[in-house]
Symmetry: C2
DNA sequence: AATAATAATGAGAACCATTATCAAAAGGAG
DNA sequence: CTCCTTTTGATAATGGTTCTCATTATTATT
């Protein structure tokens, strides 16, 4: 995820490329994983001192709409954001329902893609639905929580 | 989902089977789909006049912990609840990111199960993670919203 | 059946992530 | 530089969910 692409994307839509916006994109591309808005806020603050939380939310929203960022909801009451990293970076999550820990995984992607394509084709015909994303997540207990919760 | 099973489940854990609780289970088993807590609240009210929203949340929580109900979060700021209907009722969702409409689907379950089992096995070994559920949802635009959002 | 012990409940306050408001600041066009 | 539009920060408002606590219902004990 390097400059030119998203810059064009911004300009085409008449959005301005401000310091806050590129700082937020910077943070997202360095720390690659499922950040909350608050996480982003604190990180960006190190670069953009005076930035307000509202701007973070607004910008994240914007980036999601533009398709540059993915927004997830793992059921703990706060949204997570990740740079949309195309084919190569595609992955899903293992979520611990006790401590909320999130682990990325990217095993069996080829097989997954195959099945997903098939389902997508079937479903979009059957329901006239235009599918643009999918999410395959696993829930359970992480190593540390297995004993504890028992 | 009929009585005996969950009744035992309750008794084993020392939970009481109250009118409110069985009314909530009733509602969940009649209206089968992704209800919000508020949906449940209004439905249950028809049976249990004086019930409060707090009891609905508490009971739903309890049922989720017991594994009788599944809780979903499709990113619209409200949780959804569904009776956990075992093998036969297993399904996933198509979510419209414009109007929030949710469509159930249960195509390709056999193939899905195969892949999911494989992933589960791999992941639980690799990360010492005890997986107990998965979610495969598709996001996009429903029939009605395709024109509108264009 | 009466009483004591415990669990469940309703009402409303509290919480907290997210959104909306609005006046001020920044950026671009001419 | 001036006008016009977009972006921003601070803060209030929103809304789903959780907490508190006094009251009520249920179960266990005598």
């Amino acid at each position: 995820m390097h400059g030119p692409r998203w810059r064009n994307n911004f300009e085409e839509r008449g959005y301005r490329i401000t310091a806050s916006r590129s700082a937020i994109l910077d943070v997202l591309s360095k720390k690659r994983c499922h950040l909350t808005a608050e996480d982003v806020f604190f990180e960006v603050r190190k670069i953009q001192k005076g930035i307000g939380i509202a701007t973070v939310y607004r910008t994240l929203d914007l980036l999601v709409q533009m398709g540059l960022v993915c927004k997830f909801d793992f059921g703990d009451g706060r949204a997570r954001y990740e740079l949309a990293s195309g084919e190569k970076g595609h992955h899903h999550h293992l979520i611990c329902r006790n401590c909320g820990r999130i682990i990325n995984y990217d095993d069996f992607l080829t097989e997954e893609t195959g099945l997903v394509k098939k389902i997508e084709k079937e479903l979009s015909q059957k329901h006239s639905f235009e599918i643009d994303a999918h999410q395959l997540d696993f829930y359970g207990l992480c190593k540390d929580c297995q004993k504890e919760v028992k």
